[in-house]
């Protein structure tokens, strides 16, 4: 039996599972180690101690540049993108009540991709690349809104959401392919890299912008977090307990889309993080949304950081998009989990 402590303060009470906290702490330590490791590796291999020295006192100009301006923002961006996508996936899996749901399914990824490719092919010549994240988020929001409205028939059911999500995604993917095929080849290449998901060339303003978005979404998430577990019950049962099911579902969907949309806007269409990381988190941590969410965030962060590390060190001087390796690293893990779960 896990040791559980109940913490009460005025009208607020919380059950704290000590083993969960221990594991979360371990995951946090792992994340820091991975970050340190990523900072040390690359074209120039430094030892972690050197990295710490460079961070606190800059001596060699080009090494400082490499560590502080080239590697660090990229790693932080990768971590934030991974964390946001995993939490988004976790929420979606509970809304859809199915462990195979992910942001890729509900039109978020395809909406953002269609908008991004449209922007890169036609508007980036005049407006520059600075509004790309905005376009991507707009695309994700519109696609999800369309799916939600189309799925609305005196309320939404998980099955209808998924089916219509698949249909709308297919349309958007077709539109994206269409634009890709007819845009000049030169834009096609950069659009394709974006579609695979990459944190190449990130400079400090980008992770900071993403972080501020995520911080903005956090309050809503915390507010709804307590009710996520109830959401997984049958609709009628939940209503019987007094939960306003439709509002809750809409609210959670909004949070999920906001998280995933922001992550995709800055990191490109990285797939699978939202699918794989929640699974791994659920196996490591006892049920309870808060614990699972933090664990999923940490695992997602590590996954994308590692994928980016592999992409930029293994094929030097080529710098391959992180998205490729998320799929490569995550899939065997995923299949292993699924097959194990059969028995």
């Amino acid at each position: 039996m896990d040791k559980v402590v109940t913490w009460r303060r005025g009208g607020y009470s919380r059950r704290v599972n000590l083993s969960t906290w221990l594991r979360l702490a371990a995951a946090l330590v792992l994340t820091v180690l991975v970050m340190l490791g990523s900072l040390s590796l690359g074209k120039v291999i430094l030892s972690p101690l050197e990295v710490i020295r460079i961070l606190f006192s800059s001596q060699d100009a080009s090494l400082t540049l490499i560590v502080e301006q080239l590697r660090f923002p990229r790693i932080v961006l990768a971590a934030l993108v991974g964390a946001a996508l995993s939490v988004s996936g976790l929420i979606l899996q509970s809304i859809i009540r199915n462990p195979l749901a992910s942001p890729d399914l509900l039109g978020i990824t395809s909406g953002a991709s269609a908008a991004a490719v449209l922007y890169l092919s036609f508007l980036s010549a005049t407006l520059g690349q600075q509004f790309l994240p905005l376009a991507a988020m707009l695309g994700a929001a519109l696609a999800t809104l369309a799916i939600y409205l189309l799925a609305w028939k005196q309320g939404t059911s998980p099955l209808r959401l998924v089916l219509i999500g698949v249909g709308v995604s297919a349309m958007l993917t077709a539109a994206t392919t269409f634009i890709l095929v007819f845009s000049p080849l030169t834009t096609t290449l950069s659009a394709y890299v974006w579609l695979t998901g990459s944190v190449y060339g990130a400079s400090w303003p980008e992770p900071l912008a993403l972080a501020s978005w995520l911080l903005g979404i956090c309050p809503l998430l915390v507010l709804l977090a307590r009710q996520v577990m109830v959401q997984q019950l049958d609709d009628n049962l939940a209503q019987g307990i007094g939960v306003r099911v439709q509002w809750l579902r809409a609210g959670l969907l909004l949070v999920s889309v906001a998280l995933a949309g922001a992550a995709i806007a800055w990191g490109g269409a990285i797939a699978f993080v939202g699918l794989i990381a929640p699974h791994i988190a659920k196996r490591l941590v006892a049920p309870g949304f808060a614990g699972q969410a933090v664990m999923a965030a940490l695992i997602g962060a590590n996954l994308v950081m590692l994928a980016d590390l592999v992409g930029r060190t293994l094929f030097l001087p080529l710098d391959l998009p992180a998205g490729i390796f998320v799929a490569v690293l995550g899939t065997p893990f995923f299949l292993y989990l699924l097959i194990k779960q059969r028995h």
């Binding site: 209808r160 349309m171 394709y192 998205g323 490729i324």
Partner: protein
């Protein structure tokens, strides 16, 4: 109207669509010339040559690809007893495409035979994976579970395809158009093995039609009636891979035909597979012919990839179906 009469009228419509496909293109070729091209071919007349080479090969490919995809979809829906099964939705198209890209870029194989085999392997791998994942855990094969499994596998293989293309940027331009589904002319001689495969698959499916009815009645009833369900299932899976694989090897990834045509035929014709399968073949051919004809003229002188057409028109249909379908819940 009896099913037989309906099938015959569908056949007539198919013939008309063929003629339309032969007539439409960058230049409109009038009917008498089309007839003359087959009866008294004049090697010096451009129109005659166009009709007998370029347009004929396109028309034939559209017919066989459309028929294969529709029949594959019907078979999958019977196999999994899931009204949402289809080669596109279940990642089989994506798997076949990925393996073709893999073998043609890594091993530089570019003959149609090589493509056929890689497409088969890809379709088989994807199908197995979806089956495995969809069957995971406890509970029955609910439509939701297997749709999600299929979407996950499709996304997986597209991600891998994209990965390969990012690394091998040279081939990107060529493969991109084909990946979106394209019926651009291929000489009939090179496409022959693929077409043969499609024909064999269709024939096999029609032969199995009676058995499918029995299988659909339910597991216990079928075994009770003496049917070897395991063997039938295996044969069906092989046929699906054969049909879907040859369709992808011929024309790239074309979605929604395998999903929607069986539904339309079930509604309009009969759920008896002995009528359903031929009906699917005919209607699938008609739909793809019309889509291809439209894609040729929409943005002259360039062409819309036909997979984009079927998605843009098929998806709203699908959404409508999903909204209406309470019986999938």
């Amino acid at each position: 109207m009896s099913p037989g009469v309906k099938l015959c009228s569908a056949g007539v419509v198919l013939l008309l669509c063929c003629v339309l496909s032969l007539a439409v293109g960058a230049t409109w070729i009038p009917l008498p010339q089309i007839a003359a091209a087959f009866v008294h071919p004049d090697p010096l007349s451009i129109n005659h040559v166009l009709v007998t080479t370029t347009r004929l090969s396109r028309t034939l490919m559209a017919i066989f690809v459309g028929a294969s995809l529709a029949v594959a979809g019907a078979l999958m829906q019977a196999l999994t007893r899931n009204p949402l099964a289809s080669p596109g939705l279940f990642g089989i198209n994506a798997g076949a495409t990925f393996f073709i890209i893999l073998f043609s870029s890594i091993f530089s194989l570019s003959s149609p035979d090589a493509w056929l085999w890689s497409a088969f392997i890809g379709a088989g791998v994807a199908g197995c994976l979806v089956w495995l994942i969809g069957n995971m855990g406890q509970g029955s094969l609910s439509p939701l579970r297997i749709v999600l499994a299929g979407a996950a596998i499709a996304a997986l293989f597209s991600a891998f395809s994209q990965a390969l293309l990012v690394v091998n940027q040279d081939g990107l331009d060529t493969v991109l158009f084909w990946m979106a589904g394209s019926l651009t002319e291929r000489s009939l001689s090179t496409a022959a093995p693929l077409l043969l495969c499609a024909v064999l698959g269709l024939a096999g499916a029609l032969l199995l039609a009676g058995q499918l009815n029995v299988l659909n009645a339910g597991e216990e009833i079928a075994t009770g009636l003496g049917q070897r369900t395991g063997l039938i299932r295996l044969l069906m899976s092989v046929l699906v891979i054969c049909l879907a694989g040859s369709a992808v090897a011929l024309a790239g990834s074309i979605g929604f035909i395998g999903l929607l045509v069986p539904h339309m035929v079930r509604k309009g014709l009969s759920i008896d597979h002995r009528w359903l399968l031929p009906g699917c073949a005919l209607l699938g051919a008609i739909v793809l012919l019309l889509a291809d004809t439209l894609s040729r003229v929409l943005i002259l002188p360039q062409e819309v990839p036909v997979g984009v057409m079927t998605a843009l028109f098929g998806a709203p249909f699908f959404i409508l179906l999903a909204r209406r379908g309470g019986r999938y819940g």
